[in-house]
Amino acid sequence: MDLDLERARRGDRVGFQRLVERHSRDVFGVAFRLTRNAEDADDVVQEAFIKAWKKLPEFEDRASFGSWLYRIATNCAYDLLRRRQRRVSRESSYDAAEGWVEQIAEEQDISPEGRLAVHRDFHRELESALDGLTGAERAAFVLRHLEERPLAEIGELLGLKTNAAKQVVFRAVRKVRTQLQPLMEASR
């Protein structure tokens, strides 16, 4: 049994502080994937831990604290996505992307400048495609495609039956594909 967890369950703040310090980075990772925005992800991390503190007495030993927290964070991010359907500019990530573009430079036969332009277009279109999804579609797509979570778990997180969750994933993939396919074809 995790001693920090046990202390936190009994209402000990020091124990909970240690859990926060241990798990914050992982929670930020999934929150960022879902929100695609560092400030929103930071909000989700804080909300998730505040909720976790409230719900800790209900936490059951058979679950891993990390998985339990992951679910809380996903729900917080999903709530935020539903509340805020907004478009976010992510121009700053283009610079960070340049290293990756150089790395794949050998794989394609267009000039480095051309590759970067194609990559930027792809990045922009991907963000736009994700922004165009509903909160449920975006959460389902990120959880299935990027977090590689099983459909049953996604359904549980989104409050849907497994088959309904699968349909939401299909719909999200179709929308993303519709927006990105022309770029893929243009870069071939």
Partner: protein
Amino acid sequence: MKHATEDELIMAYYQEAPDDIEEHLNSCTACQEELEALRQLLDRVRREDAVVRSEAEVDAAYGNRVWQRIESRLETRPTSGRVSRPNPSVRRFGWLAATLALVLGAYWLGRQDVAPVEIRVEERVQPRPTEGPEAGLVERSEADAILRVALVKHLEGSGLLVREVHNASAAGATDRLPKRAERLLATNRLLRLAARRQDPALDDTLQELERWLTDVAHLDGTSAAFAAVRSRMERRTLLLEINLHLKQLGGALPAKPTVRSPEGEAHVQSV
């Protein structure tokens, strides 16, 4: 056999396709090409995600910063795991007592931050029927009126702080603004508890205000922290939201932020 549908191709990509679809894909060149195109696209989305995630990596001290921000927002929990539930009759009337306690507490805290104004709750409250079906409704309208006054006071004080942060510099912002933010934060938490059932939009604004106030309360004099505070309030157009709620609540709208030029002239700024 018919070609695989797009959904079946998606299932195949995730290795969840039924056997008959898998068999078809093994023998149909056209479907294999379609699946390959889908694979290239979705794999590229994964690579793109890896780039974006690497950009957003947080350092090892991140957990400590999270703790600093949430510590004061954690409710006190009983030290045992068991939580007692009030009996139904206590629950029925408990909300009114709780709301009044929260609102009065919030109002008291609000008085620490801004100059008190005259409260004319009695003007809105009709003579109270002591019996009959309307008795409870009147009690509720009193609580609502008090809550409204406390909300107006709090939003006015918060709007004032937003304007001051807008006009402050990174170094100057640490003088007194964090302490005021701390006091408003305490009021904000109480008002959120009281208002959250009544108005989801207001609750959303108070929630955002709480995050913003937390950031202001933790200003450390660095330009990065100050820029984050400014960015957050501009991103959500916080003052605009506060003004909208004030308008709905019938409160006075805080004036637009002003900046003093070196010559001492005041200029109106938009936030």
